[in-house]
């Protein structure tokens, strides 16, 4: 009886999590739109002279660490003012390894990029 109740509670909890997940899917696209699109734009087009476009991005098509680092540390990853764009980018190290991996994968496989997928285990070693 008690075990059944507990199981029910666990199941309900699981169902609740699932419904929240359905509302806010933790996809790379959703995470990108929530965290990145305000500056890099929903279409990845950036803003001329201010924020880099992500189309055919050298960084997105480079080895995985390049995109992971810029998400973790922002424009400080390459030295502020070195990019030719006027706005600085803050770091997003408060995101989880999985979230960063999903965003990195989204950027590396969209906007005419073909850098390939990134997984959470790629992110952890690059944290400082």
């Amino acid at each position: 009886m008690k075990a059944n109740k507990l199981l029910g509670a666990v199941l309900m909890g699981a169902a609740f999590s699932a419904s929240v997940a359905a509302l806010e899917p933790q996809t790379g696209k959703a995470l990108y739109e929530a965290n990145c699109a305000v500056c890099h734009q929903f279409d990845g087009g950036g803003v001329p002279f201010m924020q880099p476009e992500l189309f055919g991005s050298k960084r997105a098509n480079a080895p995985k660490g390049a995109v992971i680092d810029i998400i973790l540390f922002g424009s400080a990853a390459e030295g502020a003012g070195q990019s030719g764009f006027t706005n600085e980018m803050p770091g997003f190290d408060f995101l989880t390894n999985k979230e960063i991996a999903l965003i990195a994968t989204y950027v590396r496989t969209n906007f005419e990029n073909n850098g390939g997928a990134v997984v959470a285990d790629d992110v952890q070693p690059r944290r400082k």
Binding site: Q41, F42, G81, T86, N87, E88, M89
Partner: protein, 447 residues
């Protein structure tokens, strides 16, 4: 109304004070009567849905005509049209290693056939003519050459103001001149809302804001004295200005005017207080009359044109509804993120009376309205009276630069208006840094 009465009184005084022949007196009297009875043409501007001209790609109010004065000149920032007939444009990025260009239209068909590049190894924004000199600014210096008889200036420029820190954000040092030998330099704040941590959600604002000591304001210099340092020699004229790239001296009211860029990202940092729709419209882009000691409020407050009041910046405890008493009230609050990047007051009388004494403001267009469509890519006209007070609703003077609506992403904007200048013949020049860079020449041809 008052100015009309004044105009008639002046005419009457002139009539009484001189002994003109009877016919001339009669004609002058008739003119005075006409001036008193004919209402000035209403200021209507150009409608948002007006068709653009097929050749120039822009729309203008009835009676105005444009030509593409110069195309593919490079990323044109501010412009000046000198008494020697040449138009000078600063370039935001060097073109073939040069940071400015001089343009000339020898046959007067509205198209510049000659161009000469100068300012080797530099890039900049500020451009102006004052006291027989051509002024140009990079992000760290304001310099000048003697204005040549024509073409590009020769020799090394003399640096007038320097010592501005090298920054990337809001780093342009645009300039203006009064009638008393002074140079005004905008020193933008390298910050969004003076957060402790740069553009980071949840990071509080710094009070007192240390940025305001050296940035976020207007500094005044002697326009002719070489080698002045911002902090040692410059006079801190006005403060609380996040970025005042749209700045000009109004000779009619003898005062400086600034249109300030409002802060970005209200919804992304404060989603509990602002919807995406509110964050697209707010805060206002603020148009101010700026005097010695003016404080425009940044970073402690912003203007909300839907409420008509200054509000406490959320980084400083605001919640979208808390009213602030910090910062002066603007003359006009424009919709959010339109990016005022150029301003001009006319000195001549080539344009119709209703377009002469107000402020022309070039809005470069937004990037921070997504997911709403981007907006603003236009030149507006704010009518002002002789004292420099707003005398009516602002209108759009030139539009269509960005191409067909909606513009969802700034890179889709074909052109983005920025530099403004008045030629010696009274024509208006409008520059764009996008799509290779372009300058339009606008004249009034009548109905």
């Amino acid at each position: 109304m008052n100015s009309k009465i004044f105009g008639v009184s002046v005419l009457t005084l002139v009539l009484v004070g001189c002994s003109a022949p009877e016919e001339a007196q009669e004609a002058a009297h008739q003119e005075a009567t006409e001036e008193a009875t004919v209402a000035p043409a209403p200021l209507v501007g150009v409608a948002d849905d007006a068709a653009v001209d097929a050749v120039t790609g822009i729309s203008l109010p009835s009676g105005f005509k444009a030509t593409v004065f110069a195309d593919d000149i490079g990323s044109a920032r501010h412009l000046t049209a000198a008494s020697n007939g040449w138009v000078y444009a600063a370039l935001f990025r060097p073109k073939d290693g040069m940071g400015a260009v001089a343009l000339y239209d020898p046959d007067g068909d509205g198209v510049a056939d000659e161009r000469q590049y100068f300012a080797a190894g530099m890039q900049g924004t500020g451009m102006g003519v004052y006291d027989g000199h051509l002024y140009y600014s990079t992000d760290t210096e304001v310099m000048r050459w003697p204005l040549p008889e024509g073409g590009a200036p020769v020799g090394d420029a003399v640096v007038i103001a320097q010592g501005f820190n090298e920054e990337t954000q809001h780093a342009s040092k645009n300039i203006a001149f009064d009638g008393a030998g002074n140079l005004y330099v905008n020193v933008g704040a390298p910050s969004n809302a003076s957060m402790t941590e740069m553009r980071t959600k949840g990071s509080p604002g710094m009070r007192p804001c240390p940025i305001l000591e050296q940035y976020g304001g207007t500094w005044r210099f002697d326009a002719s004295k070489p080698g002045q340092d911002q902090m040692k020699d410059g006079y801190h004229y006005a403060t609380g200005i996040r970025n005042g790239m749209s700045m000009a001296w109004n000779t009619h009211a003898d005062s400086l005017y600034v249109a300030m860029h409002g802060r970005d990202q209200l919804a992304s940092f404060f989603p509990d207080m602002f919807t995406n729709e509110q964050s697209a419209e707010l805060p206002s882009e603020e148009f101010h009359k700026v005097s010695d000691g003016s404080d425009l409020g940044w970073p402690y407050s912003y203007f909300d044109h839907s409420k008509g009041t200054r509000m406490v910046m959320p980084e400083y405890g605001g919640d979208g509804n808390m009213v602030s008493d910090e910062g002066q009230m603007p003359l006009v609050g424009f919709p959010g993120h339109w990016a005022p990047n150029g301003m001009m007051f006319l000195k001549g009388d080539a344009m119709p009376a209703q377009y002469r004494k107000g402020a022309y403001i070039a809005f470069h267009g937004s990037w921070n309205r997504a997911p709403q469509p981007q907006q603003g890519y236009r030149v507006v006209y704010v009518p002002l009276d002789d004292a420099g007070n707003v005398s009516g609703d602002w209108v759009t003077f030139a539009n269509g630069f960005a191409g067909p609506d909606p513009v969802m992403s700034p890179r889709d904007a074909v052109h983005r208006p920025l530099g403004l200048a008045e030629g010696p013949d009274g024509a208006i020049y409008i520059g764009s840094l996008a799509s290779g860079g372009r300058v339009w020449k606008v004249t009034y041809e009548g109905e």
